[in-house]
Amino acid sequence: MFVSTAARTGWRLPPVRHLATLLGALIVGVAVVVALLAPYVVPHDPFLQDLNQRLIPPMWMDGSQPEHLLGTDQLGRDYLSRLIYGTRISMLIGVMTVVMSGLIGITLGILGGFYGGRMDDLVMFLITCRLAIPLILVALTVVALVGSSLTVVSLTLGLLLWDRFAVVARTTTMQVRTLDYIAAAKAAGASRLHILLREVLPNIVVHLIVVATLEMALAILLEAALSFLGLGVPPPLPSWGLMIAEAKDYMFFSPWVIMIPGIALFVLVMGINLLGDGLRDLLGADLKR
C-alpha cells in the first residue's frame, strides 16, 4: 500500500529528511491553527484562578483530574488553556518579529547589495553596529524606560533581529544584480524601484524564506528568555517563558509545571527549524533546474 503510493507519486527525496520536513510542517501547522482558534479550543478560562485546585498533576500522573488534562499551576489556572494561549503569544511574537525585521533587513540588504559603493558601506556599518548591540541589555533598558508589554517585546525584537535578513539579502542581491536580465530590464526602460522589487526580490526570496523560519524560531526563543527574566510579556499573560519563570519555584515538587511549557517551546522551535531546513532543500533543488 505504502510502496504503491510512493511509486505513484514518484518521491525521490531521502525518506528521513522528507519525514522531518513533514513533521516540521505539521507542528507549525498545528501551532498556527491552535493560535488562531485559541479562544474556541481552550477547555477553561486561562486567567481564572482557583486556589483550591493548585498544582494538580497532569493526566498521566496520580491525583490528576479529568477536567484538567495537563493539570493546573500554582494559582489553580488550567495549564492546558494557558499553554494554548501561550502558543498564541509565541506565534504572534514570531510572526511580528519576522515581518518587521524582514522589512528592515531586506530593504537594507537589497539597497546595499544592488547599489554597492557608499550605500553598501553604510549598510555594512549598520549591520556591524547591530551585531555589536547586546540584545538582552537593550531589552532591559527599554523595559526599564517604557515598561513591558507585548507590543514593546515585539518592537524590540523586530527592530533588532534584522541583521541576518540584511546579510542574506545583500549577498544574494549581489549575485543577481550583474545578471543579464537586470541589464535587459534597464534596457527595456524599467525604473529603479521596479528593478529592485520586481526583478531582484523575486529571485532572492527563496533564500529569505529560509532566513524567515530561522528568525522566527530565534524570536520565539528570545521572547521566552526575556519573559523568563521578567523583561518580556507581563503577567498574567500566559507566555511560555513566563510560565517557566513562574514555575521554577515549584519544580522540585511539581516538575511538570516547568516541563510542559519547556517541551512545548522545544517542540515548536524544532518544528520551525525542521520546516526551514526542509524548505531550503526543496527550494534549493528547485533552483537548480
Partner: protein, 331 residues
C-alpha cells in the same frame, strides 16, 4: 519628421567613454544608422563595441563616463536627456537584445508576463491587450504555439527559442532602432543562421534601423549594409560592407579577413593568418595608432597623430597609409 536616408535614425559623433583615469574604452567613435539599414560594429573582445552600445543607451556601469559631440536619435540629442526621459525611450523607440539568451530573461516570471510588462509600461495598455500583442509577436518571430509559450518559464525554453522571445520582446513597442549586442554568439551554428535570417526578415518588414554588434565577420558579410571595424576604442575602418570586404584599406581589417578560412583558397598545409600581439590598454591621452605594435606596416610616424583617409563612397579608414598603398599584398 521624415525618415529619408539623409536623416539617420541614430547618429553618434565623437563618442568617448572613460573608466576612471586609466582606461579609455571608446575614443572618438562616430557612426550613423539609417532607417532600414543594418550597421555592424565588428571587432575583437575589449575593443569597445559593447561599451559603445551601452553608452548610446546611457546604461554604462558605474565608474564609466561618456562624452560626445552628439548622440542624436531622430535629430534629438540623447546626451541632454534626463534619466526619466531616457527610460521612456528605452524599450519603446530604442530596443536592445543581449548576447546571453539563457540569462537575459528573468527566471521568476513567465515569458508572457515579461513581454507584456514592456508594453504595459510604455503604452499604458491593459494586461489582456499586452498578452495579445505578445502572442502576435511570438508568432511573428516563428515561435510555434505562442499561446502555450506565454505561460512558460524561461527554463522551459531552449536557447534559440529564448533568443526569439528576446527579439519579440524587443519589438513589443514597435522600436525604430534595434541594438543587438552579439545576438547569436551564444547559440549553436544552425540556430545562429535561423536567428540572423529572422532578424533580417523583421528588419526589412518593419524598416528597423539595426545596430548589430558582433565579432564575427561572417555575420557582418551576411547582414550589414555598412560596417565599422573597431580596434582599441576607435573605428579604424568604416564604409559600405561590400566595399570594405572587397577592398579593405586598414591593415587591421586586412589582418582580420586573412584569419578567415575560405574553402578553395586556403590549403590544408598552410597555417591560417593571425595577428600577432594583444590589444593594448589605452589610457586617456594616448596618441598615435593603437595598432602600431601589431602592424606589419608600422613606421616611426605611426606614434604621431593618425589621419583619416577617404577611399571614396563613404569608405574611410584611420591610417597614415593611403588606400592604394594598403592594397599591396602581404601585411
Amino acid at each position: 519628421m521624415t525618415n529619408s536616408a539623409a536623416d539617420p535614425v541614430l547618429s553618434v559623433a565623437d563618442l568617448r567613454v572613460t573608466f576612471g583615469e586609466r582606461t579609455e574604452a571608446v575614443r572618438g567613435m562616430s557612426l550613423s544608422v539609417a532607417r532600414g539599414e543594418t550597421h555592424c560594429i565588428v571587432g575583437e573582445s575589449g575593443c569597445g563595441k559593447s561599451v559603445t552600445s551601452l553608452a548610446v543607451m546611457n546604461l554604462l556601469p558605474r565608474g564609466a563616463a561618456r562624452s560626445a559631440g552628439h548622440i542624436r536619435f531622430h535629430g534629438r540629442d540623447l546626451m541632454g536627456l534626463s534619466e526619466r526621459e531616457m527610460a521612456r525611450l528605452r524599450g519603446d523607440k530604442i530596443a536592445m537584445i543581449f548576447q546571453e539568451p539563457m540569462t537575459s530573461l528573468n527566471p521568476a516570471y513567465t515569458i508572457g508576463s515579461q513581454m507584456a510588462e514592456v508594453f504595459e509600461r510604455h503604452r499604458r495598455a491593459g494586461r489582456r491587450a499586452a498578452m495579445d500583442r505578445a502572442a502576435e509577436l511570438l508568432a511573428r518571430v516563428g515561435v510555434t504555439a505562442p499561446g502555450m509559450r506565454l505561460g512558460q518559464y524561461p527554463h522551459q525554453l531552449s536557447g534559440g527559442l529564448r533568443q526569439r522571445v528576446m527579439i519579440a520582446m524587443a519589438l513589443m513597442c514597435d522600436p525604430e532602432l534595434l541594438i543587438a549586442d552579439e545576438p547569436t554568439t551564444a547559440l549553436d551554428v544552425t540556430v545562429q543562421a535561423q536567428i540572423l535570417r529572422l532578424l533580417q526578415k523583421l528588419q526589412q518588414e518593419l524598416g528597423l534601423a539595426l545596430l548589430l554588434i558582433t565579432h564575427d565577420l561572417g555575420v557582418v558579410a551576411r547582414m550589414a549594409q555598412r560596417v565599422s571595424v573597431m580596434y582599441a576604442g576607435q573605428v579604424v575602418e568604416s564604409g559600405p560592407a561590400a566595399a570594405v570586404f572587397a577592398a579593405p584599406t586598414h591593415p587591421y581589417t586586412r589582418g582580420l579577413l586573412a584569419c578567415i578560412p575560405v574553402p578553395g583558397t586556403v590549403r590544408r598545409d598552410e597555417p591560417l593568418g593571425s595577428i600577432p600581439g594583444m590589444v593594448p590598454r589605452i589610457a586617456p591621452g594616448f596618441i598615435g595608432c593603437g595598432f602600431r605594435d601589431r602592424c606589419g606596416s608600422a613606421m616611426p610616424e605611426c606614434a604621431g597623430a593618425v589621419p583619416l583617409r577617404d577611399a571614396g563612397g563613404g569608405h574611410t579608414h584611420l591610417c597614415r597609409l593611403l588606400p592604394d598603398a594598403t592594397r599591396a599584398p602581404g601585411a
